[in-house]
């Protein structure tokens, strides 16, 4: 290989409690598309953020065209010919499309201190044409659909190509996760067209896509590059095994421990509707069952979960818990009736980060630990120790601040909180999002433990595979309505395509 356009050598990066990158080396040749794969938390995003100057490496060096450079800020990265499409969108809704595309590099349109809007719009229109997005550059991004915003984001990164002389590298951190197949095809065509001028680093969880577009693939696991291989000779199955570091089998989801649901109905929804979110949703939830709800963003399943847990109020319909009609006006009423929600935004909604592990665990059942108006700390600590043991939570002590634990252990604390509160129905909204593989398996074990004890679980899974693997029954939602109900007994799981057909 000739001198790589972009190379990193022996880069390490630690965050409190986590070694995010461990002696990583990585190179991109001129005009090459390099795939970067790994489980959540493997270090892919951290690596890209180091290349883009958002993070500084603790050790190691970055080389552009064979020369060692320092990339101290996104701006410097840009000037070195590196641009990035961020996983969490970085399009500002309050600015126009053109303003977003050229944010932070307006100077080329400035004359006598003033921005020439017409020249900026013309340049933006040029960039938008490249991604075949036919919108007015003066439009505010708030008025754009989500996928359109993503294309603007991509146009923003690609604009580097026409701004910088010489070769450029564009980092794409999961650019396709919100795109339709048609838009993905378009993006890939654009990438192929630009290869004589640009190199790409492509991160995606869709391994077929990675194999389709990449020349070479780097596989990361636990902060290390575990394998570098040519995309032509690899298969999805190979990649999968390399990523998780073990054979994939249905044991991953503990299917053998899936218990047949009991006939006892613990929660029954009848004709639940909420304007603009979902309508006429009816289902029964049995004791010891995992009921998976599949659907894309906007299918209404998130809103439904929130209504069941009292975070939102349905407009019409009835809800019965253990045969008694209930109406929840607030989450604590739902908790009192035995329904708990483990939200997707763990850090924002699920935990009080500056509280200790013990304090978080007893939060939903605090009255039980109070006598004569004072909290009984000994009792609190005792229960906390018990649950730390039972759920194998890795924490130095029950007094440790929960914010300093890893994602997987934080999630276990959230689960313990609801178990201590004595819920009978637990709604899990993306319970394994952003936690590493080992912790995921622990969470799957915990789910099986809970159902074995008769708890009922409603699961909004992180992936379709997860929903299928864990659930006893699956409801599929589209545009706010249930479009299919499938049984998923061990050994007789529906295929992903069977479900996808009802989702989109």
């Amino acid at each position: 290989m000739s001198v790589p356009v972009l190379e990193i050598r022996g880069v390490s990066k630690s965050f409190p409690g986590v070694k995010a990158l461990d002696d990583v080396s990585f190179a991109i040749a001129r005009g090459e598309v390099v795939g970067l794969i790994g489980e959540n938390g493997a270090g892919k995003s951290t690596l890209l953020k180091i290349l883009n100057g958002v993070y500084q490496p603790d050790s190691g060096e970055i080389l552009v065209d064979g020369r060692s450079v320092s990339v101290a800020s996104p701006r410097q990265a840009f000037d070195s010919g590196i641009a990035m499409v961020f996983q969490e969108q970085s399009i500002l809704p309050t600015l126009t499309v053109a303003e977003n595309i050229f944010l932070g590099r307006e100077e080329e349109f400035i004359r006598f201190g003033l921005i020439s809007r017409s020249r900026m719009h013309a340049a933006a229109a040029e960039e938008l044409r490249k991604v075949h997005l036919d919108i007015d550059p003066g439009m505010r991004c708030a008025d754009l659909a989500f996928a359109a915003r993503q294309m603007v984001e991509i146009a923003k990164a690609l604009s580097l190509n026409s701004r910088i002389k010489g070769h450029v590298t564009i980092l794409l951190d999961e650019p396709t996760s919100v795109l339709e197949q048609k838009e993905v095809d378009l993006l890939f065509r654009i990438i192929r067209d630009l290869r004589d001028r640009a190199s790409f680093v492509f991160i995606s969880h869709r391994l077929e896509e990675v194999l389709d577009i990449s020349d070479r693939v780097y596989v990361m696991r636990d902060g290390k590059v575990v394998k570098e291989l040519s995309a032509r000779s690899a298969s999805v199955k190979d990649l999968h095994q390399l990523m998780v570091g073990r054979q994939l089998h249905h044991e991953y989801y503990r299917e053998a421990r899936q218990v047949p649901p009991s006939p006892a109905v613990v929660l029954a929804a009848e004709g639940l509707s909420r304007h603009g979110a979902f309508h006429d949703v009816s289902f029964d939830l049995h004791e010891g069952e995992v009921l998976g709800i599949a659907g894309v963003v906007g299918s209404g399943r998130e809103d439904l979960a929130r209504c069941l847990a009292g975070h939102r109020r349905p407009d019409s319909g009835t809800l019965h818990i253990a045969g008694a009609a209930v109406r929840f006006a607030a989450p604590h009423e739902a908790a009192g009736a035995g329904v708990g929600l483990v939200p997707a935004e763990r850090k924002v909604e699920g935990l009080v980060a500056p509280f200790s592990v013990a304090e978080n665990m007893t939060l939903a059942a605090l009255p039980r630990f109070v006598s004569h108006g004072a909290i009984r700390f000994a009792a609190e600590l005792g229960v906390a120790r018990d649950w730390i043991e039972r759920l194998k939570i890795k924490t130095p002590s029950p007094d440790t601040m929960v914010g300093s634990l890893s994602g997987g252990n934080q999630q276990k604390v959230v689960l313990a909180k609801w178990r201590i509160a004595g819920v009978r129905v637990l709604i899990l909204d993306h319970p394994t999002r952003g936690i590493d593989v080992g912790a995921k398996e622990d969470v799957y074990d915990l789910i099986r433990d809970m159902t074995a004890e008769g708890l009922a679980v409603i699961l909004l899974g992180d992936t379709l595979e997860e929903v299928i693997g864990l659930s006893s029954r699956i409801l599929v939602m589209r545009d706010g309505a249930i479009t299919a109900r499938l049984d998923a007994p061990p050994g007789g799981k529906p295929r992903q395509v069977d479900i996808l057909r009802h989702m989109v």
Binding site: P74, S90, L92, L95, G104, E107, L114, D143, H279, H311
Partner: protein, 326 residues
């Protein structure tokens, strides 16, 4: 289903954008119907004259609020700049006389105080409300200490005429100057890099940083720009009443924040405009003027202003999306 939800939100969005204008027009109509003299040329000029200084102040305050910060140093900065200006023109306290040069001097002093606000806020990582509150009090304290509790009388008629009393086409100089200040603020907002960056930082600071915007430097600079407007407001205040003293800016802060918020600029940052604040200033002024015309007591007027600011925030916030209010 999804399509319907999006459309609804947009219609509501448009309604929100024009609400302040509708409120202003409605208010004018009501006050005019109750007391037709509201629509007289004399009353219009009186209102414009009253609006002049709040307009200048609000231009600065809007930038800071758009950025998601708040500036409570308004009164201290204005007072110090007013006292400085009055001591630099022909007066009964000092022998210094630099005439109209005192105006740029006051503006620059305001800018310097603003930069100090920004530096304290950004470099010492003190929340903007606390940093500016402290510097505002310090400003009033210094103004009081310089004058030893007395006031400076301005004898410079040029200064007073050019900045306040003189008229062009029957409209006082202060109004023309306020107009120029609004124009300048609008150009900064719409046509400069800093203007874009204010919105970017106010909407999402992390994204702004990822896009290569020097967030810290911009923040400090914006507080400086706001200070320039307060400095001008200080000179205008001194010229208007012909005196300089430490309490010259009393109530300016409350009026400014009310006007900015009533105009539709969100305290959370990123949403709004200096033109919104122009509307906001006139809503506050017309309301005050109307209450005077209707013979309502001044104490009640203040209460109404207080209710107004809460009502405006209540209307502006999309509380259905807000799960936690701090």
């Amino acid at each position: 289903m999804a399509a319907i939800a999006v459309e609804r939100g947009q219609m509501l969005g448009h309604w929100r954008r024009w609400a302040p204008v509708a409120v202003l027009l409605g208010l004018c109509l009501v006050v005019g119907l109750i007391n037709p003299s509201f629509f007289s040329f004399g009353n219009a000029v009186r209102m414009l004259n009253t609006a002049a200084i709040p307009l200048v102040v609000c231009m600065g305050a809007t930038f800071v609020i758009l950025m998601g910060s708040i500036d409570l140093s308004v009164e201290g900065t204005i007072a110090l700049c007013a006292v400085a200006a009055s001591m630099l023109v022909t007066n009964d306290l000092t022998g210094v006389t630099i005439g109209l040069w005192s105006v740029p001097a006051a503006i620059l002093l305001g800018g310097a105080l603003g930069l100090l606000n920004g530096l304290v806020h950004v470099k010492l990582r003190i929340p903007s409300f606390m940093a500016t509150l402290g510097i505002g009090f310090a400003g009033i304290g210094i103004a009081t200490a310089i004058l030893g509790g007395v006031m400076v009388r301005i004898a410079d008629t040029d200064f007073r005429n050019w900045l306040s009393l003189g008229r062009l086409f029957g409209i006082p100089a202060a109004v023309w100057i306020a107009g120029i200040a609004v124009l300048a603020a609008w150009v900064i907002q719409e046509r400069t890099r800093i203007g874009r960056w204010i919105y970017a930082i106010g909407t999402d600071e992390q994204t702004a940083r990822n896009s290569g915007i020097p967030v810290e430097r911009t923040r400090i600079l914006i507080f400086g720009v706001a200070g320039l407007f307060y400095g001008l407001a200080g000179a205008l205040s001194a010229a208007q009443i012909g005196r300089g003293h430490a309490l010259i800016a009393q109530d300016r802060l409350f009026t400014a924040i009310t006007a900015v918020v009533v105009g539709g600029t969100a305290l959370s940052g990123g949403v709004g405009s200096v033109l919104n604040s122009v509307i906001g200033v006139f809503i506050v002024i017309v309301l005050a003027n109307g209450m005077v015309l209707m013979g309502i007591e001044p104490y009640v007027q203040k209460g109404v202003q207080g209710i107004l600011i809460i009502a405006a925030v209540a209307l502006a916030l999309d509380r259905s999306r807000l799960d936690v209010v701090k």
